[in-house]
Symmetry: C2
Subunit: 268 residues, 2 copies
């Protein structure tokens, strides 16, 4: 009988006291330095959503990657400085041996049945069944946990075609078929390799701050299940050591699941 899924293992948190939980890094989520940023975002979101005073569902999450997380245990403190009638504001900090490694703020809220509309348009891509799964050879460990199929701006087997575009569009799903929940979406929001690779090749780089806006509720995530998500990402500006990334996550049926932004450090 298989053990828990790699994502669920990474999200296991032990309650230390009302405001602090303890977790640990998992080797299967290893990135170049420390764990994959997406799993750190996911575990911070889980730390907040598992707090007994949590109100509603995630609306916005900002994660600031302050310092590399080393292998082993970490503690996450989380508190809600403000709870309103239909939304709630959170601050969280992940630390190891008293050193802050990651900070986060989040907004949770209760959605109401009212007018909804999608203004953005989904990118063009052939169905995932018509695109080959990318090769995870020569890539960090965590990549093999996802089934990625690049329609544009590929990074397969550690190979990247440098050119004028910074856009990647890919289908992605959990390789083991785990259904998505909010932590899973938070993780996928960091799935895109650094945009600078498409312009300058594999230069040192790392996400400094990541913001994700969630545009669906749990029932919609339940309907998605473990199906592919269509992600598209591009940069707007590379400026002397920093660049931004703007991305969207779409369901196969054309729902905008999340929009997500990051600012990234790069060399060269």
């Amino acid at each position: 009988m298989p053990g828990p899924h790699a994502l669920d293992r990474a999200l296991e948190l032990e309650v230390v006291d009302a405001d602090v939980v303890r977790g640990r890094t998992r080797p299967e989520w290893a990135n170049m330095v420390g764990p994959f940023g997406g799993i750190t975002a996911a575990v911070l979101l889980r730390a907040i959503e598992s707090h007994p005073d949590r109100l509603g569902e995630p609306v916005a999450l900002t994660v600031n990657f302050a310092a590399p997380i080393v292998d082993g245990e970490f503690e996450i403190s989380r508190r809600a400085p403000r709870t309103n009638r239909t939304n709630q504001h959170w601050i969280a900090e992940l630390s190891q041996d008293g050193d802050v490694k990651t900070t986060a703020t989040a907004v949770f809220g209760i959605r109401r049945d009212t007018w909804s509309d999608t203004q953005a348009t989904s990118p063009e891509a052939p169905p995932p069944e018509q695109v080959a799964r990318s090769d995870h050879e020569n890539l960090p460990t965590w990549v093999r946990l996802y089934d990625m199929r690049f329609a544009e701006g590929s990074f397969s087997g550690g190979h990247v075609d440098v050119g004028p575009s910074s856009t990647t569009t890919l289908w992605v799903r959990d390789a083991a078929g785990r259904p998505v929940d909010f932590p899973a979406i938070a993780a996928v929001s960091d799935i895109f390799f650094p945009r600078v690779f498409l312009r300058r090749g594999m230069v040192p780089s790392g996400t400094i701050s990541l913001t994700t806006y969630f545009h669906v509720g749990q029932p919609h995530l339940d309907a998605l299940g473990a199906d592919y998500i269509l992600g598209t990402a591009h940069a707007n500006r590379f400026d002397r050591g920093f660049f931004d990334q703007s991305a969207q996550l779409w369901s196969r049926d054309g729902a905008l699941v999340a929009t997500t932004y990051q600012i990234v450090y790069f060399k060269g």
Copy 2:
């Protein structure tokens, strides 16, 4: 002789102790409820950049509007949980009588002379001299502090044309000719009226969380001076009481000054 500019008055902060400063709301920045969100973002950024331990210039700022700020004094606590060699992470909280009203995180950094490029393209708009200044009648007090000239998706004199687009493009500059600095850019990043007005008319709404990425340094801001900035904003998704806004600020000479995102609460 005129007194200090309205923005400089709003940014006046008194040092309480190493980590706390005190400011006060200014009537000229009044919005529908509490002060204009942009001035709150600006004062939080100023509170951080005026800290003696601050490293470099602003790279990213996230402001969470947790509760309305009432007229009068406020305190801002700010601390840097992490300082690296070329970047620094900040957490700030604005409170009144012990109640947290606004939280923020920021990343400051040192830019290095390296490869830079702009991937985004500036929106189409006639020069500001060919567009009429918008009418600030029937609009909140703070609007008269700006010279706004709408090229698309106007909201002038409290009138808005409801339609299928959520896009606004406008030229904006300080009405009194104050040169821009980072707090001024933080304020302008919240200059766009709620996108839902263009789709549903003037329904109750308010920004919950605002993230701005700065793509230029102080020398570039000095070169901008008090000239017009071209702003463009659109929504990607309205979803049961929340919508997002994605925006860009451009200089007249085609430099991308900032990209900025928000999640907004709305009724109806």
